[in-house]
């Protein structure tokens, strides 16, 4: 596939590197994006700087779990609607203490994306005004997108495992009191 998806955020990445020095660990390139790899502490700062550079649209925030290396990536994708540039920011933290600063002061969009990330991957966003589950029910246990997650067989009496469903009969309808 011809890469019409240009890696256009290079200058912004260079500027960020120049500004934050060691906090920007690495500038990576993938097939579609320039990825800024930053220290977890500089997460919010770098985003604030990039927002000032014109990256107004927070496209998504997600986490990637690497159980073997015991690390958790938190990745954000930004877009500059006027300059048509894009950039990704990535940070790495240990799995048990996956924790970065919330981006909600910068983008209203971060609210839901961070809630989703917390819900599914268990990343804690400090400073988030309302960090609760968004897709799963409030009393759900575990974070589904962690690699060591085991889905429960039952949730409030509802079979979750296909092999536990009785194929021959419908479940008895409970008496309504």
């Amino acid at each position: 596939m011809p890469s019409v998806l240009s890696a256009s955020g290079q200058t912004a990445a260079d500027q960020t590197k120049a500004r934050y020095g060691d906090a920007v660990l690495e500038i990576q390139k993938c097939a579609t994006d320039v990825i800024l790899k930053v220290a977890p502490g500089a997460w919010a700062e770098v985003h604030a700087f990039l927002k000032g550079q014109g990256f107004d649209l927070l496209v998504s925030i997600c986490a990637v779990d690497w159980p073997k290396e015991n690390k958790m990536w938190v990745v954000s994708h930004l877009y500059d609607p006027e300059g048509r540039r894009r950039i990704s920011v990535k940070t790495e933290s240990p799995r048990d203490a996956a924790r970065v600063d919330s981006l909600t002061p910068l983008w209203a969009a971060a609210n839901w994306h961070e809630r989703e990330c917390f819900d599914l991957s268990g990343v804690v966003f400090t400073g988030h005004p309302d960090l609760r589950r968004i897709l799963c029910p409030e009393d759900w246990e575990g974070h589904a997108l962690r690699k060591d997650y085991k889905a429960p067989d039952f949730y409030h009496g509802i079979a979750n495992n296909v092999n536990l469903i009785d194929l021959d009969h419908r479940p008895p309808i409970p008496e309504i009191v």
């Binding site: 194929l167 021959d168 419908r170």
Partner: protein, 152 residues
């Protein structure tokens, strides 16, 4: 004055656009309906229609490729192999799970499984949605030992 003009133009436009809309609906009142009468006239399905599978048992070589290609593991195959002779003892597709994606038909080396035109296979029980495509066979004790049943 503009307020007065907007008031009267609102009243007029309200009535006028209602009449315009009514003229359109009236035209369709006398046009031919597009309804297809379902149980009387079966819709003609195109040749590529992805309905209930068609399975050609005599061609099947029991290689499990279709079961492996299935994203939802809905195909269960039982094979008895004795030398070159292949006996398909079980070819069940669970239509509770099947999502009619056609991924099972593509990799089949023997071209023995296709998507068919049939779409009416509703059932009252969960078990009724598991269709058994292989013809029932009685197995000898020896055959039962070598029978291999697997989903993936």
């Amino acid at each position: 004055m503009t307020a007065v003009r907007t008031y009267f133009s609102d009243v007029f436009m309200g009535l006028w656009t209602a009449l315009v809309g009514m003229s359109i609906t009236l035209r369709y009142l006398f046009s031919k309906p597009v309804t297809e009468m379902y149980p009387d006239v079966k819709p003609r399905t195109p040749t590529r229609y992805r309905g209930i599978h068609v399975f050609e048992e005599e061609k099947c070589i029991g290689c499990y490729v279709c079961a492996k290609a299935c994203p939802v593991d809905c195909i269960e195959i039982g094979v008895v192999r004795k030398g070159k002779e292949i006996k398909i003892t079980k070819f069940d597709i669970d239509y509770q799970k099947c999502m009619f994606c056609d991924l099972c038909c593509e990799p089949c080396p023997a071209h023995c499984i296709h998507m068919g035109p049939e779409f009416e296979k509703a059932s009252f029980t969960r078990k009724g949605t598991i269709l058994q495509f292989a013809t029932p066979k009685t197995l000898t004790e020896e055959e039962k030992k070598v029978e291999k049943v697997a989903r993936k």
